[in-house]
Amino acid sequence: MSSEKPWLHGRKPGDRRVRVERPHAEFFRYAGPGQFVAREAASEPRTAAGRAIERVRHAMFGRRLSIYEEMGERLSKKKALAIFSSDAISSSAYATEEILRVLVLAGAGALLLSLPIAIGIALLLGVVSISYRQEINAYPSGGGDYAVARANLPGIFALVVAGALLVDYVMTVAVSTSSAVEQVISALPGLIDIRVEIAIVAIVLIMLGNLRGLRESGNIFAIPTYIFAFGTLAIIVLGVFRIVALGEHAPPPEPLPGAPDTLQLVGFVLIIKAFASGSVALTGTEAIANGVPAFKPPEPRNAANTLLVMAILLGVLFVGITFVADSFGIVPVDAPAVKTVISQVAAKIYGDNTILFYLYQTFTALILFLAANTSFNAFPRLAAILARDGFMPRVFSFRGDRLAFTSGIVILSIAAIVLIVAFGGITTALIPLYAVGVFIAFTIGQVGLVRHWLSERSAGWRKKLTINAFGALLTGVVFLVVLAAKAPTSLLVAVIIPILILLMLFIHRQYQASADHLAMSDDAVIPPPRREERVIVPVPTINRAVVQAVNVARSIAPDIRAVLISDDPEEAARMRERWERQLPLVPLVIVESPYRALVGPMLAYLDVLDRTWPDDKEDPITFVVIPEYVARHWWERILYNQSADRLRSALLGRPHTVVVNVPYRREVEERAPEPPRG
């Protein structure tokens, strides 16, 4: 408490009062016996440069959030639908096209199969969604398929899921960004030469949006997602009305007379390939199950309901677009100009070159950009869970000022940018790598749930087990189909995932080894220290910084010696004379260094000291007290302490050695009185 208490006068002469200063109050709040809560002021930078950086960070990412504000950052169902579903919902913009691109190879007659295939994929989506609802309720703490596999299957399966999902999340960012850039280029062909740069800028912008935190990224991304969804629903309603009520539709394709029946010829393989291509619609379905803790309470219920809405919406959009495209005989066109299926459907319903058409196209491009955002939420969460389990560096589990998993967000951005640069930002080059990993995760996750129900046997377990077993079988088959249909490029995933698994196992082993090494028995009572201590002070000369370091050294242990490494014997002799006169109680050891090295002779001297220590005694702790001059300004600091820095680096990791820096500040020098003479 401060001793300065100015008197405050009241209304009457006797009613004086004094205000008591509370020194801790600026930085801490008392929270209980021996417990404080740090205020925001305690985290604020103290240097001018630090404050300037903080102001920039504040402008870019917003103010720092405390963990107590996390609940306010939780997502409502409306925002969560936009954040976690932009990937899944945006796939309705291209999934139909992927089917048609396969079927069109088999001739016009094969196009009729697009609707049944779309319905088949929608049914698969239904099964997967029901399975994920069960997963959310069984594992409400999030983690999705990884958590399920980790709890129910041998450890390697969880790592396979994690590796597969991490790869797929990076692919989602790369593919959706490239695809969106292609939409922009089809409108503005002059930008084709800077497609990679546009994609990089887009990823950086999405990264910054996510670094601002969950709720704000929800605000940024919700509007385009909902406008695209409602715009597409309007297309479907108007399209169905025109087809059913007004009887508008293209005539069914007639096979050419005498031409072979391509459908019969290609048959099952063609259908399977089209199904595999269209199944990209399912990517992103797992994101909600991974991010359950991001929802407002009750988290599992809100997540499960959001998943249901997302699945219904995606199913309706996907089947609806396919039905309208099929009815109007729309197929993808690549020449003379690129015309995507979704753009042709929009032109048919809203009218070619109308304002509504351009608005819809704009939001289609936007949602493709934002599809990447699903991965920006899922990847960092999965990485954080893996870090918590010791399979990724711990930095991935730390949250930044805005409660976002900063490292995961940044690493995902870098990985996606590298992919885009490597593949020239061309979507078709990236597509074969896409959607393979997610089916691995679907399958293993559901197998894990089957084992969960078998061991738990809670109410209704047989029904739940049947659903998950059926889902696992279905997604397992689809995985093989997707892998085969997109081979050989898809097989690259089969190389990348094992590499990731090996990396995770390596990290886990390192953490495990260090944890085992540091572990202490719970019931061990720690005795007082009994090892002897000695102190070495490397001294270049006698000055205030050296004297301060020597005084600190004296407070550590009585066994103290100063060591001067010198390449000038005459200078060393003068130093000894001065030292013995001014610091007579501290022995000085002079090590002449004719080869002018500083660090080597100092380390050798410490080694010799160790060797001369009696064998029957435990090794002492050697404190190396390094005097350090701290200049006022950062630009001054580069002029000093290079030798001290080198010595400190060399001593890092030396057994039984503790390095103590004793900084001498210039402000101290200005105030410090001259020591008494004589």
Partner: protein, 170 residues
């Protein structure tokens, strides 16, 4: 309330705390009133200094305990997301210091607690502080009374907000 209903919204309220059982009640009530108008709360704890000591004398033990009371009040306000600052005073008279502080801060309302006294059959003893505030405060005064315990229920003497002994600053 000492005065008729005021239609003007509260912008600043002074909460009189004393480390007693009504502190939590007062802070909660203040937060509920402040929240709709984003009003500012100032929690005031007055340490009464008797005439044997200088008014500005260091009252280390009392200050630590009182500081803890103010910090805990801030903790409650944080949960409500209401701005609350602590004000620690030393004075000869608690009531006069509270009123003078409210005047200086330009507060619209003073909220104080009235504990229930169980002895002698139980009653609300106004003492001298509350009547002084009611009579001299130029703003509204809200007196939050401690709930009357049910028959046979004993108040636990440890349910106070004070916890200065573990402040760690000694």
């Amino acid at each position: 309330m000492a005065e008729g209903a005021n239609p003007n919204p509260i912008r600043k309220a002074v909460l009189g705390l004393n480390g007693g059982p009504t502190d939590e009640l007062v802070v909660n009530l203040g937060c509920q009133l402040a929240k709709p108008n984003a009003a500012e709360l100032v929690a005031v704890h007055v340490i009464e200094v008797d005439w044997q000591h200088e008014l500005s004398e260091e009252m280390t033990d009392e200050n630590l305990a009182a500081s803890a009371v103010l910090d805990l009040a801030e903790g409650i306000a944080e949960r409500y997301k209401v701005k609350l600052s602590g004000d620690l005073l030393q004075a000869r008279e608690v009531a006069a210091a509270l009123v003078d502080e409210a005047i200086e801060l330009g507060a619209d309302v003073i909220i104080v607690g009235l504990p229930y006294r169980k002895r002698f059959g139980g009653d609300f003893a106004l003492g001298t502080t509350i009547p002084y505030i009611l009579q001299n405060a130029p703003c509204q005064v809200i007196v939050a009374r401690e709930p009357v315990p049910a028959a046979g229920e004993r108040r636990d003497s440890t349910d106070k907000l004070t916890a200065g002994s573990g402040l760690g600053l000694r």
